[in-house]
């Protein structure tokens, strides 16, 4: 049952000390009356609130459970304590020890006493409420401090120093401390893992889930490397541990600083943007947030960050910030600013400036804001670390875009790589990959127009052979490729075609794509040294 406020109940528990105004020595000391609870809708409350003084409850005619309770507890007279029109307590009196009725003088004395006691009781109640509020506030602040401490403990203390790259990061927690996190993980072969994530919920629970996610990523990333595999594994680890109604969005990317190649997978986090000139690319990959469901698979994609390009990884706190009129800052605005960026640090500064202007000075930050930029410096990368062996140009030629001319590209490449003495199976794979990449370039990039050439460039260094095939269709986006499924093709659910990119991917050790406003380039890589993942 809902009861009257506890402060009122406490008053009710007291056997009236006023009874001692007429002490009866033969009687034992003051008796403790059992507490009587009064529901807020009990008519007794209204009655006492409007009463002008001591009330003899024996004569009251009210349909009130509390009244019955008071009578049962032996209460004879009730003196309401009213302060500023509000009933704040009751003085309950049992029978006088003299067994006489309460006299008019008694009642006057009680009324006077109540008149003086009510403000004092009210002050005491306010002080107690304030103390409770202070304790509550201290508890919340303490919790926030703990959440901040946990969160800051797991944020990187320093940013990676990558030759040819500049990495910048910004993190600002909201007042309530959300679950944002970011991390950089050293991986084998000079690769680096980049994490940006966001735990739903706030405060200590979010910070603890963030810590668990951080630990799982740190444990699995160096072992598995491939972003899709890392997220798949971390999801399995988190599913069993995740509190109800919580999950983690997370973008995980693996950067090869030497080549600019970036492989990435995304568990429902914001899409990273890559700016080059005024163009902005979205690095999309599908995947469910971590910790929601077991058995999730994550799409893995790759991109190459060219010199001069900057990538932004970001959390909700930026794009989902609101102006006073409730307009949202929005993802298109973020993307547009990425397109205007000159470098990573300037981009972060600009984003924060625009955000501040958008939200106004009185804005209370709604969520954590995390911004991480990776900028590949223009000019020769890794100038301080010269390559072991300079890259050698083995051949460079053009092929007119006419069906069948992929054989010219194949023959040209075979001739160029003869000195490398590739084993036959690897040479055959390279031939198929070159043929398919040239066909794609002629058909999709150059519309099979003979006057538009496909450029073929063959280079090698001590470790890799690279064949770069360039078309003239850079102004149009690369087409989405459907993974070929032979069952679907045989049952007519997919066209029999669409094997080109699939074959290329399966024929070479590595594959990079890049584009500028005029060209697409696909780079086919065959490792020349024995590598763990090299096809034999």
């Amino acid at each position: 049952m809902t009861t009257i406020p506890s402060n009122l109940r406490r008053v009710l528990r007291r056997e009236p000390k006023v009874a001692t105004t007429e002490p009866v020595a033969a009687r034992p000391g003051p008796m403790e009356a059992p507490p009587v609870e009064i529901a807020p809708n009990d008519p007794l409350i209204a009655y006492f609130s409007s009463a002008t003084g001591a009330v003899d409850i024996g004569s009251l005619q009210l349909d009130s459970p509390a009244l019955a309770g008071l009578r049962e507890a032996g209460v004879r007279v009730v003196v309401p304590l009213v302060s500023q029109g509000e009933l704040i307590g009751l003085l309950n009196l049992g029978p006088r020890r003299s067994e006489q009725e309460y006299s008019a003088d008694d009642r006057k004395l009680l009324n006077d006493l109540a008149g003086h006691a009510a403000p004092a009781v009210r002050v005491a109640q306010l002080v107690r409420e304030q103390q409770a509020e202070v304790r509550q506030r201290e508890r919340i602040e303490q919790e926030l401090r703990v959440a901040q401490l946990i969160q800051q403990q797991f944020l990187p203390h320093e940013l990676p120093d990558l030759p040819g790259w500049h990495v910048a990061a910004f993190y600002r927690p909201a007042l309530e401390v959300g679950g944002d996190f970011y991390d950089f993980i050293d991986l084998p072969d000079g690769l680096i893992g980049i994490v940006v994530g966001d735990v739903t919920d706030k405060g200590v629970p979010a910070a603890l889930v963030m810590a668990t996610t951080h630990a799982a990523l740190r444990a699995e990333a160096p072992r598995l490397v491939a972003p899709s595999e890392v997220l798949t594994r971390v999801n399995e680890l988190l599913v069993d541990e995740m509190p109800a109604h919580m999950f983690v969005t997370c973008l995980y990317a693996v950067l090869d600083p030497a080549s600019g190649e970036l492989r990435y997978a995304n568990a429902g986090h914001n899409v990273p943007y890559v700016g080059f000139g005024a163009e902005v690319a979205e690095l999309r990959a599908t995947g469910m947030p971590l910790g929601l469901m077991p058995g999730m698979q994550y799409q893995e994609k790759q991109a190459t960050l060219a010199p001069g390009q900057t990538m932004l990884l970001h959390s909700d706190g930026l794009a989902e910030a609101h102006a006073p009129d409730r307009e949202m800052f929005g993802f298109p605005r973020v993307a547009a600013l990425v397109g205007e960026a000159t470098d990573g640090e300037a981009l972060i500064e600009r984003l924060l400036q625009e955000l501040s202007g958008f939200t106004g000075a009185d804005w209370e930050q709604e969520d954590d804001i995390t911004l991480v930029t990776l900028e590949r410096r223009a000019g020769p990368p890794a100038a301080a670390v010269p390559p072991e062996e300079p890259e050698r140009l083995l051949a460079e030629f053009d092929v007119p875009s006419q069906p069948g001319n992929e054989r010219l590209a194949i023959d040209g490449v075979v001739k160029a790589v003869a000195e490398l003495d590739l084993p036959d199976p690897r040479l055959e794979r390279l031939k198929t990959a070159v043929g398919e990449a040239t066909m794609n370039a002629m058909e999709h990039g150059n519309d099979n127009r003979p006057e538009l050439p496909v450029g073929v460039r063959v280079v090698a260094d001590a470790s890799d052979l690279r064949v770069q095939i360039t078309d003239q269709g850079g102004h149009r986006p690369l087409p989405e490729v459907e993974l070929p499924d032979l069952d679907a093709k045989l049952s007519g659910l997919q066209t029999p075609r669409g094997w080109g990119l699939f074959l290329i991917q399966n024929m070479v050790d590595d594959l990079h794509t890049s584009a500028d406003d005029r060209h697409h380039t696909i780079e086919l890589v065959m490792h020349l040294k024995e590598a763990p993942n090299a096809r034999r």
Partner: protein, 125 residues
Amino acid sequence: MPGGEFAAAVRHHDGTGIIDLRGEINLAADGPLGIAYEQAASGDPKAIVLNFADVDYINSTGIALIVGLLARARKEGRAVGAYGLSDHYREIFAITRLSDFMGIYPDEHSAVGAPATAGPTREGH
């Protein structure tokens, strides 16, 4: 022009239609391969065998043509087998899973004679 133009010849042997393929299997093979299949399927053989021994190049369009031929044969209840594939194209047939749906044999004798020539005749997989 490197490579050889596509050509196909058809024979029948032991109730099997054999298509001898030659040259490059690419877009240009589309019409001739269709005609060759029809000839091979005349007389309603239980199986069609593709002889790749004289094929020196198959591109992704050629793979698509073979997928189309396989789909048609399966619809008509005919098994498809193949022989004469180089190691490289065997690998490609494995990667694309074509070899899950057609028997791959070292020579004509085993392709025509082996019960498995009938290979996977199921529509589903």
